[in-house]
């Protein structure tokens, strides 16, 4: 008779307990995955909206900061032009006023006062007069730009000697009647804006920088990149600004390549006057940190869920299969003839019914067996009687046979004697 294990091997046995546990685990995992996936998706959507809104606010705030740098310079120049009646003072007084302005604002490198015909009235400089380079900027193009008596900001240019970004700002000088009497021109060193931009805090590792309409970098925490005169038009948001016409702030904050070559969520805010934009970038990993934390939490919860599902699966499958295994083991013992095997199944369900049926079957089997044994004993008794009768008859026959055989042998002996006597007589 094959053993239990051999039987299992022979028919490619698969434990019902394991099957049930795995099925429960698989079901739980699928449910958990679906639930976590949906939660993550909606969380991601919400977070993305939050990031877009935050980026817009940060970009606008940074733009206001940079804009205030320029507006402060304009305010100083306008105050100087209006309060000191520069258009009617003598040259020495005008120079003193310009000196005061130069002393107040370190970003002014040179100041020039022009009359209404754009002739130079006074000039002060942080550089030596012989090294003054503003004259080359006071050309007909600039005069054409400032002719209408409005404030003006030039495009950014790089100083040949220091490689620093500079720009020209002008404000009109008017008399009490509002008639244009001249122009106050300032050469502004934009490196003083670098600290301002460098201090703008964008998250932990985010950056802000300023580009002009050509996409040239004019302010960034890493001044070496500004000094190198980098053009950033290859960056998506800078390109968006360069391509756009007005003061549109983008509402999208998709992932793009940042100024430091990493993946960022970027946005920009145009300043308007001057025609620059502040671009703010936040590394993707930082922007989606909350989502990442959510993923980790979901993963941990899912792992915990799976663990619980395994424990529950094992418990439930064992609870289900234990009586079945008990019945199986009992069946095997009964098959081996142990009809007194106890079936310890007390479930009040179908398996319990099965166990009861099994017990009933065992009782019937015992009765049948007892009846069979009784019949067998009766049969053996009859056979013994018949055997004895048969034996007596056989003995009788044997006796008769012995008698018949003796007579026959006597006759053969007599005949043989007769033939001997007859042969002697001849």
């Amino acid at each position: 008779m094959p053993t239990q294990n051999e039987a299992k091997k022979g028919r490619n046995f698969r434990s019902l307990t394991v099957t049930l546990a795995l099925a429960f685990l698989a079901l739980s995992t699928v449910v958990l995955l679906i639930a976590s996936g949906l939660e993550l998706y909606f969380n991601f959507q919400t977070q993305q909206q939050v990031i877009v809104s935050q980026q817009q606010l940060i970009a606008q705030d940074a733009a206001n900061t940079v804009k205030s740098f320029v507006q402060d310079k304009f305010s100083m120049m306008e105050s100087t032009a209006s309060i000191s009646s520069m258009a009617i003072e003598n040259q020495e007084q005008q120079k003193n006023v310009l000196d005061k302005l130069l002393g107040r604002e370190p970003s002014f490198r040179q100041l020039v006062l022009l009359d209404a015909q754009n002739r130079k009235l006074a000039e002060v400089s942080r550089l030596s007069q012989s090294a003054s380079r503003i004259d080359s900027r006071l050309d007909s193009n600039l005069f054409a730009q400032i002719q209408d008596g409005e404030k003006y900001v030039s495009s950014v240019y790089i100083d040949n000697i220091t490689s620093e970004p500079m720009m020209i700002m002008t404000v009109p000088v008017k008399d009490i009647f509002g008639d244009l009497k001249g122009t106050l021109v300032a050469e502004v060193n934009l490196k003083f804006m670098w600290d301002l931009v460098g201090r703008i805090k964008i998250g932990d590792k985010g950056v802000a920088y300023v580009v002009d309409r050509q996409g040239d970098l004019i302010a960034f925490g890493d001044i070496s990149r500004v000094l190198r005169g980098e053009n950033l038009i290859h960056l998506e948001k800078v390109n968006d600004f360069v391509s756009s016409k007005g003061l549109i702030i983008t509402g999208e904050s998709g992932t793009s390549k940042g100024i430091q070559g990493n993946s960022v969520i970027a946005n920009y805010a145009p300043l308007g006057m001057p025609d620059w934009a502040v671009v703010v970038e936040l590394p993707v990993e930082e922007a989606y940190q909350a989502v990442a934390q959510g993923v980790v939490m979901s993963a941990l919860i899912m792992l915990l869920g799976i663990f619980l599902a395994v424990v529950a699966g094992i418990y439930l499958s064992r609870r289900i299969t234990r009586p079945i295994i008990g019945l199986r083991d009992a069946a095997i013992k009964i098959g081996q003839g142990a009809l007194d095997t106890q079936i310890e199944v007390k479930s009040r369900n179908e398996i319990g019914d099965l166990a009861s049926a099994f017990r009933q079957m065992m009782d019937d089997l015992k009765k049948s067996r007892a009846k069979l044994e009784h019949h067998q004993q009766e049969l053996e008794k009859n056979v013994d009687e018949r055997t004895k009768e048969l034996q007596a008859k056989v003995e009788e026959l044997q006796k008769f046979n012995r008698l018949a055989v003796g007579r026959e042998l006597r006759m053969i002996e007599l005949k043989k004697r007769i033939r001997e006597l007859e042969s002697k007589r001849r």
């Binding site: 239990q4 307990t17 003193n96 107040r104 090294a131 490689s163 000094l227 663990f307 395994v310 295994i325």
Partner: protein, 337 residues
């Protein structure tokens, strides 16, 4: 009852795997040893030695803690080329991560000492015009970059201010270290400007305070100096305390205005000084050093130009009976009264 052993092993394996996964996800940590940077600092001139203070202060701001993740080997010399080379050779032998060298001649020595070795050099207060120190401001090239010192413009600016404060001066004495390489270019730049202002420049080269004193006394005996002034250009002789003391004593005796000399100890009696602040220069050098230590090749980092600060010694100006315009006072970063 018969136990299903095969089922038991399968479950144990699943549980063990889960436990490993939980431990892996929950307790996975990495440790990283922080690199300790070794920076060699060579100051070739005592007058600018406080550049090191600016460097250290800014490096601390940038997250470098001395003794923890950065170690400085600060060597101070004073116009001693032999000592420069000795110190630089030591830096090279010690394989420092970066060398900060100042001023110009030290930077040039550092560049030569590290040629082909790969140790990056950051210079400070160094002249880049016609010295071969860098290829250009934007792309210095090689393994060197730093904070420049604009000598010619500074010399011209000092001349203009002195001329504004002492317009009566028709002769300006210019003492300087004999044979110092960056002097000629400054004198060349000053010559036409002085000529157009009607000022004659008188060069007073000397090797030390004694020689300077002798030269000054000789000049007093040979001509009338009542309408003269003394201009300090960018060079090392007029940064030495002993020469400044000689010059200050001489100027006080003859009531001569001195412009452009250091006024930190007030011994020179200089009426103004315009130059970049050494601590600010050190801070700018630190920002560059930080980039280099983080992996940016030195030769690709543009040279930085520091802002000059104007200090006016109003007390001495008044003692000399000179007039100073309100405009100049307004432009001053510091007024000593």
């Amino acid at each position: 009852m018969v136990r299903d052993k095969r089922m038991g092993f399968g479950l144990q394996a699943v549980l063990a795997s889960l436990l490993v996964a939980v431990i892996f996800l929950g307790g996975c940590t990495t440790t990283q040893n922080e690199k300790v940077y070794h920076v060699g600092v060579l100051s070739g001139l005592s007058f600018v030695a406080d550049i090191t203070d600016g460097l250290k202060a800014k490096m601390t701001e940038l997250g470098y803690t001395e003794g923890k993740n950065i170690v400085y080997d600060v060597q101070e010399t004073n116009v001693d080329p032999a000592a420069y080379r000795q110190v630089l050779n030591k830096f090279v032998a010690n394989k420092v991560d970066l060398i900060l060298a100042f001023p110009t001649e030290v930077a040039l020595e550092a560049k030569a000492a590290t040629q082909g070795i790969g140790i990056p050099v950051v210079f400070a207060n160094a002249v880049i015009e016609n010295t071969g120190l860098v290829n250009s401001v934007r792309e210095p090239g090689g393994n060197i970059t730093g904070v420049r010192f604009s000598t010619s413009d500074l010399a011209l600016r000092r001349f203009e201010i002195l001329h504004e404060l002492a317009p009566h001066a028709k002769q300006m004495w210019i003492p300087y270290q004999r044979g110092y390489p960056i002097v000629a270019s400054q004198l060349g730049a000053l010559q036409p400007v002085a000529a157009s202002a009607g000022v004659t420049m008188i060069e007073v080269p000397a090797d030390n305070a004694t020689e300077l004193e002798t030269n000054l006394q000789t000049r007093v005996k040979s001509s009338d100096i009542s309408s003269d002034a003394i201009l300090c250009i960018v060079e090392p002789l007029m940064t030495m305390p002993d020469t400044l003391a000689v010059l200050g004593k001489f100027a006080a005796e003859h009531k001569l205005p001195i412009g452009g000399c250091p006024i930190s100890n007030n011994s020179s009696g200089s009426i103004f000084m315009t130059a970049p602040d050494n601590v600010d220069v050190g801070k700018l050098a630190a920002s560059i050093a930080d980039k280099i230590l983080k992996g940016t090749p030195a030769g690709t980092i543009p040279v930085v130009t520091p802002e000059s600060r104007l200090r006016i010694n109003y007390k001495v100006i008044q003692e000399l009976g000179l007039n100073v315009s309100e405009g100049l006072l307004n432009r001053a970063d510091e007024i000593i009264r």
